[in-house]
C-alpha cells in the first residue's frame, strides 16, 4: 500500500530533487560535557524526503534541534541555502522557511484546532497590536485572508469536523495531524518532522504517510523526517542518515542503507 504510494510519488512525480538546501558540516554538540552529536556531516537536497534513523538516544532529535536553531552546536558549520549560519534562534529559522513538529506533541493546549493552525501563519500576518485591538478593516481582512489559507490546510488534512475543538480533547493521532497542520500553515520550504507516526495505529500511519508524501509532492516541500517505523522510512525516503550514539554510521538511499553492515549491526540487528 505505502510502497505503491512511494512509487507513485517518485516514478510519475513532477518533483525534481534539486540543489543542496541545508548542509551540515562536522556538527558536534554536547551538554555539560556529554556528547550528544559527534562530528556529523550530511546534507539535505531541495524537494527530497530525508530520513534520520537510529536507536533511542542516538541523537536524532538533537540533530533536528540543531537544524532549526533550538540547540547551538559547539563545533561545525551549517549552511542554509549556501549561507553559513553561526548562531540562530528558532524564530529566525522559522522566518527562513523552516517549520517542524515535535516528538512529544507540542500543541497549544488551551486553543482550538483552528487557532493552533492560525498561529502557524503568524509570521505572515503584518497587522500591529492597535489594529488587532480595533479588529476592523485591515486587521479583519487580514484575519479572513489567512483563515482561508488555514481552511485549505484543514481541508488538506481532512480535519474539518474538529475545526473548533480544543486540541486537548483530541485523540493522539489527530493531535499529531493538527501539529503537522500548524507547521504546514507556515508554508515552509523545509519541514522537520520528529517521529510524526509514533504511537499511531496502522490506519493513522497510512494517513500520515499519505499526507507527508502529498506535502512533498504537491508543494515541493523538502522534508527531514525522524521515524522509528523502518517500513515507512524505507518506503518514503529518498535518502536516509543513520545515527548511533551521536555518530553517523550510514548515509544513502534506503536500499543501500538497508544493506550497510554497520547499520545492521547497530540498529536493524538489535531491534528486528
Amino acid at each position: 500500500m505505502m510502497n505503491d504510494m512511494a512509487q507513485d510519488a517518485t516514478a510519475e512525480g513532477g518533483r525534481r530533487i534539486g540543489e543542496v538546501i541545508l548542509d551540515l558540516q562536522h556538527i558536534s554538540l554536547s551538554f555539560g560535557g556529554v556528547n550528544a552529536l559527534t562530528d556529523i556531516s550530511f546534507d539535505v537536497r531541495e524537494h527530497e524526503i530525508r530520513s534520520i534513523i537510529g536507536p533511542n538516544g542516538a541523537g536524532k532529535s538533537s540533530m533536528l534541534n540543531v537544524m532549526n536553531g533550538v540547540y547551538h552546536p559547539q563545533k561545525g558549520n551549517i549552511l542554509f541555502r549556501g549561507e553559513p549560519r553561526q548562531k540562530m534562534d528558532p524564530h529566525t529559522a522559522a522566518a527562513q522557511g523552516i517549520a517542524r513538529t515535535f516528538q512529544n506533541i507540542a500543541l497549544f493546549k488551551g486553543m482550538t484546532v483552528l487557532d493552533n493552525i492560525m498561529t502557524g501563519r503568524n509570521l505572515k500576518m503584518k497587522c500591529n497590536l492597535l489594529e488587532h485591538a480595533l479588529f476592523w478593516g485591515k486587521a479583519q481582512r487580514e484575519e479572513i485572508e489567512h483563515r482561508k489559507k488555514v481552511e485549505d490546510v484543514i481541508d488538506f488534512l481532512e480535519i474539518q469536523s474538529i475545526r473548533k475543538t480544543p486540541v486537548g480533547r483530541l485523540p493522539y493521532g489527530l493531535q499529531k495531524r493538527v501539529e503537522l497542520g500548524r507547521a504546514l500553515a507556515a508554508e515552509p520550504t523545509l519541514l522537520l518532522l520528529d517521529e510524526p507516526m509514533a504511537g499511531m495505529n496502522v490506519e493513522e500511519k497510512q494517513d500520515m504517510c499519505r499526507f507527508i508524501l502529498d506535502v512533498n509532492d504537491q508543494f515541493g516541500t523538502t522534508i527531514v523526517l525522524i521515524e522509528h517505523d523502518m517500513g515507512v522510512v524505507m518506503d518514503i525516503s529518498d535518502r536516509v542518515v543513520v545515527l548511533d550514539y551521536g555518530k553517523k554510521i550510514g548515509d544513502g538511499p534506503p536500499d543501500e542503507v538497508k544493506n550497510n553492515a554497520d547499520v545492521i549491526a547497530a540498529y536493524l540487528g538489535t531491534s528486528h
Binding site: 513532477g14 481541508d155 469536523s161 509532492d217
Partner: protein, 654 residues
C-alpha cells in the same frame, strides 16, 4: 410559484433555470459547507456555471441525446452538471456513488455512456478500473482535483478546465447555448434513473421534463412551497427522491439547496442550516429517535422525568394540535409548557426548528416513530411513489394524517386498484420508457395507460391509500391464509432493538423469521444491564438478547392476532443471524432493502433448520470486509419458539 408553470415556455428545466437567474439573480440557489462556512451561490452564479459546463461539454463533442453519467455525493457542481447536460438536450444518468466499479460498469454499458462527470479521485479510480469494459467512455471529468496530479490518462479532465473551456466557447458563440436551450421540448427525456430492483438487472427509467415538472409542480402547489425554503441535500443523487426534492422542486419553486460538508457531518450541517423543507427515509428518522432516547437515558433523573412527562403530553395531544383539532385548554397549556421545555429545544438540537413540511417515503414508517415527530410539532408526512412515477403518487394532506396510510392521490394523479389488489396509477408523471427495454415498458404499463406499481393495497373509507406489501410477495400459507412478509417485517422493525427481519411462510405451514438486532440499541441496553459482549455475533447469541427479541415478536404476534386477515401469519420460530445483513454481501440493495430471495438462498440451511424443528443450526458464511478482502465466519445459531395467540383470546385481552 404556480404562475411559472402557467407561463408558456417554462416547460424544461434549463428554461426554469434561466428564468430564476433573471427573476431572482441574487437569491441563494445553492449553498455548500466547505472550508468552514456555507459557500453560497446565487441563481445568477449557478446559471453562469451551468452555461460554462454545458458549453464545455459541447466543446468536447457532447451531442443532443447523449447520456452523461454523474457520480458522486451531493455537490453543487454535480447538480450543475445535471442542468448543463439538460441544456444541451442530453440525458443525465445518475449512479449511486457507493456502488463498486463492477456495478457501475453495467450501467455505463447499458446507457452507452461517452461522458462522465465524477466527484473525486475515488470515482475516477473506479472509472479507470472498468475502462476496458466500457469502450465507449471518452471522457471522465472530475470535480475535486485533489490527488489527481499524477493521473496522466488523456481520458481525464478537470471540471475547472472544462468550465474554462466552456466560458471561452460561450464568449465566442454567445447564442449557442440559448439556441440549444430553445431546442428543448417538454417531452424530451430530462433524466435517466436506474431502479435498483430486487430482481434482475437495473433498468434505466426515462423521465421527461414534463413529467418531473408536473410532479414538482404538484408538490409545490400541494404544500405551498416558496422560494424561501431551505432544503438539505444529502440523499444519493441517483435516487428519485433526491432528484424530485433537491432538483426538480428547487428548480420550479426557486428555493435553496444546501449540500453538507461530508457524510459524517450531515447531522451537524442539518442543525446549522435548519431546513424548512426536509425529506428523509424512515431509517433516518428512526436513527434520530433512537439517538434521542439513548442520549436522554444519560440525563439526570429529574430531567428524564420531565422529558417523559412532556412526551406523554405530546402523545396525548401533540398530533391533534398540529392537525388543528380541538384540544382542551389544560392540555394546550401543558403542550405550550412542553414546547418551551422539551419539544422546542429538542427540535432545535435536531435541526428541525424551522421545518414547515417534512416527508418520508421509501419504506414503511413505524406508527410510534411517525407519531413522535408529529407530536413534537414536526409536520412529518408520508408520500408514496416510485422511480417510474417521479416518486409522486400519493401525498398526505395537512390536517388529514393517518399513521398507516400514505395519503390521497396527489394533484394530476389518478389511482385505481386492480382485482388482485395491485395499485395502478396514471398521470403526467409516468415514465416515458425504460431505456432500451420496450418489453419491460410494455409489461409495466397496461393497455389503458396505467402503470402497474407491483404494490398491493386498498383505499380506506376516507379515500386514503393503504399499502400492504409487494403484490408479488404476498403469498399463502399451506392453510390458505394470506402471508404478507413485508407487512410483518415492518411491524418487527418498528421495535428499536430489531434492525432487519426476514420472514418466510409462502407454501409453508407456519411463519418463521430471521432477525438482525440493532447493534447500537441492543448494545446500549446490554451496557445498562451490565452485560459484556465483544461484538455483533457475540451479542446476538446471548440468552438475554434472545429473550428481549422474543418479547418483541410476541407483541407483534398479539398485534397480528387482532387482524382477521393476518392472524394466521403469526411467527412461530425465529433465529437471530450471526452477522448483519450487508449491501456489500448482496443481501441488501443499495437502498437497504432486503433481497429476500437472495437471503433465502444464501441461508438455505437456516431456513431448513427453522422448519425442521431443530434447536440449533450450524452455518458458515463468506463475508466481504470493508477493505475488499473476504473471510469466513461461522456460528451455531440457536432457534427459538415464540408464543402465538388465538384471534379470540387477544381480542379479549385488547
Amino acid at each position: 410559484m404556480s404562475d411559472t408553470h402557467g407561463q408558456t415556455g417554462l416547460d424544461t428545466f434549463p428554461r426554469l433555470l434561466m428564468q430564476h437567474a433573471k427573476l431572482r439573480p441574487n437569491r441563494p440557489a445553492m449553498r455548500e459547507k466547505a472550508y468552514g462556512i456555507w459557500q453560497t451561490y446565487t441563481w445568477a452564479q449557478v446559471a453562469e456555471s451551468v452555461r460554462a459546463i454545458a458549453c464545455g461539454l459541447a466543446e468536447l463533442g457532447f451531442k443532443r441525446g447523449d447520456r452523461l453519467a454523474i457520480i458522486g455525493d451531493n455537490r453543487p457542481r454535480l447538480y450543475w452538471s445535471v442542468a448543463a447536460c439538460q441544456c444541451l438536450g442530453g440525458i443525465p444518468v445518475m449512479l449511486y456513488q457507493d456502488a463498486v466499479a463492477q456495478e457501475m460498469a453495467y450501467v455505463l454499458q447499458d446507457a452507452e455512456i461517452r461522458f462522465a462527470v465524477v466527484e473525486d479521485q475515488e470515482q475516477v479510480d473506479k472509472m479507470l478500473e472498468i475502462r476496458d469494459e466500457v469502450p465507449l467512455l471518452e471522457r471522465v471529468i472530475y470535480d475535486e482535483a485533489r490527488g489527481m496530479r499524477h493521473y496522466t490518462q488523456t481520458l481525464l479532465m478537470g471540471l475547472d478546465e472544462l468550465q474554462e473551456m466552456g466560458r471561452i466557447h460561450d464568449r465566442n458563440q454567445s447564442d449557442f447555448l440559448d439556441g440549444e436551450v430553445a431546442k428543448g421540448a417538454s417531452d424530451d427525456i430530462s433524466i435517466m434513473l436506474y431502479t435498483s430492483g430486487t430482481t434482475g438487472k437495473p433498468k434505466g427509467v426515462c423521465q421527461t421534463h414534463g413529467a418531473f415538472i408536473a410532479a414538482a409542480q404538484g408538490g409545490v402547489q400541494f404544500d405551498k412551497l416558496t422560494d424561501q425554503e431551505d432544503i438539505l441535500s444529502y440523499l444519493p443523487m441517483a435516487w428519485v427522491g433526491d432528484h424530485l426534492f433537491s432538483f426538480a422542486q428547487a428548480m420550479l419553486a426557486g428555493f435553496t439547496i444546501n449540500c453538507p460538508e461530508s457524510g459524517e457531518t450531515v447531522m451537524t450541517d442539518l442543525r446549522e442550516i435548519g431546513p424548512t423543507y426536509y425529506f428523509a427515509p424512515p431509517r433516518v428518522f428512526e436513527n434520530l429517535l433512537t439517538q434521542v432516547m439513548i442520549r436522554m437515558e444519560d440525563a439526570g433523573a429529574i430531567k428524564r422525568k420531565m422529558f417523559h412527562h412532556f412526551m406523554e403530553v405530546s402523545r396525548r395531544c401533540g398530533a391533534d394540535i398540529l392537525d388543528g383539532k380541538s384540544v382542551s385548554a389544560g392540555d394546550r397549556f401543558q403542550y405550550w409548557l412542553g414546547n418551551l421545555m422539551v419539544y422546542g429545544p429538542l427540535k432545535n438540537v435536531l435541526g428541525m426548528s424551522r421545518i414547515r413540511v417534512a416527508y418520508t417515503a421509501g419504506a414503511a414508517i413505524g406508527p410510534d416513530l411517525f407519531r413522535f415527530y408529529r407530536s413534537i410539532g414536526v409536520n412529518l408526512k408520508q408520500l408514496y411513489g416510485q422511480t417510474e412515477t417521479c416518486a409522486y403518487v400519493c401525498l398526505q394532506p395537512d390536517g388529514e394524517i393517518k399513521l398507516d396510510s400514505v395519503g390521497k392521490p396527489a394533484p394530476f394523479v389518478e389511482v385505481k386498484l386492480a382485482d388482485n389488489g395491485e395499485i395502478l396509477v396514471k398521470g403526467p408523471m409516468l415514465l416515458k420508457t425504460y431505456y432500451k427495454r420496450p418489453d419491460a415498458t410494455a409489461e409495466s404499463i397496461n393497455a389503458d395507460g396505467y402503470f402497474m406499481t407491483g404494490d398491493a393495497g386498498f383505499f380506506d373509507e376516507d379515500g386514503h391509500l393503504k399499502i400492504i406489501d409487494r403484490a408479488k410477495d404476498v403469498g399463502k400459507l399451506n392453510d390458505g391464509s394470506m402471508f404478507a412478509p413485508n407487512y410483518i417485517e415492518n411491524k418487527l422493525k418498528f421495535f428499536q432493538h430489531i434492525k432487519e427481519a426476514v420472514t418466510f411462510g409462502n407454501g409453508r405451514d407456519f411463519v418463521t423469521a430471521f432477525i438482525n438486532i440493532d447493534l447500537e440499541a441492543v448494545g446500549n441496553w446490554a451496557e445498562r444491564k451490565g452485560m459484556g459482549y465483544s461484538g455483533y455475533t457475540d451479542l446476538a447469541a446471548q440468552d438475554a438478547v434472545y429473550e428481549l427479541i422474543r418479547e418483541g415478536i410476541e407483541t407483534v404476534n398479539a398485534d397480528l392476532a387482532t387482524d382477521p386477515r393476518m392472524s394466521g401469519s403469526q411467527i412461530k420460530r425465529f433465529l437471530i443471524l450471526h452477522k448483519e445483513l450487508d449491501a456489500d454481501d448482496g443481501e441488501l440493495t443499495r437502498t437497504r432493502k432486503v433481497r429476500r430471495n437472495f437471503v433465502a438462498e444464501r441461508y438455505q440451511v437456516l431456513v431448513e433448520g427453522l422448519y425442521a424443528g431443530k434447536k440449533s443450526q450450524y452455518i458458515e458464511t463468506q463475508v466481504k470486509y470493508e477493505d475488499g478482502r473476504t473471510g469466513k465466519i461461522s456460528a451455531d445459531l440457536r432457534i427459538e419458539e415464540v408464543k402465538t395467540f388465538t384471534p379470540q383470546a387477544t381480542k379479549q385481552a385488547a
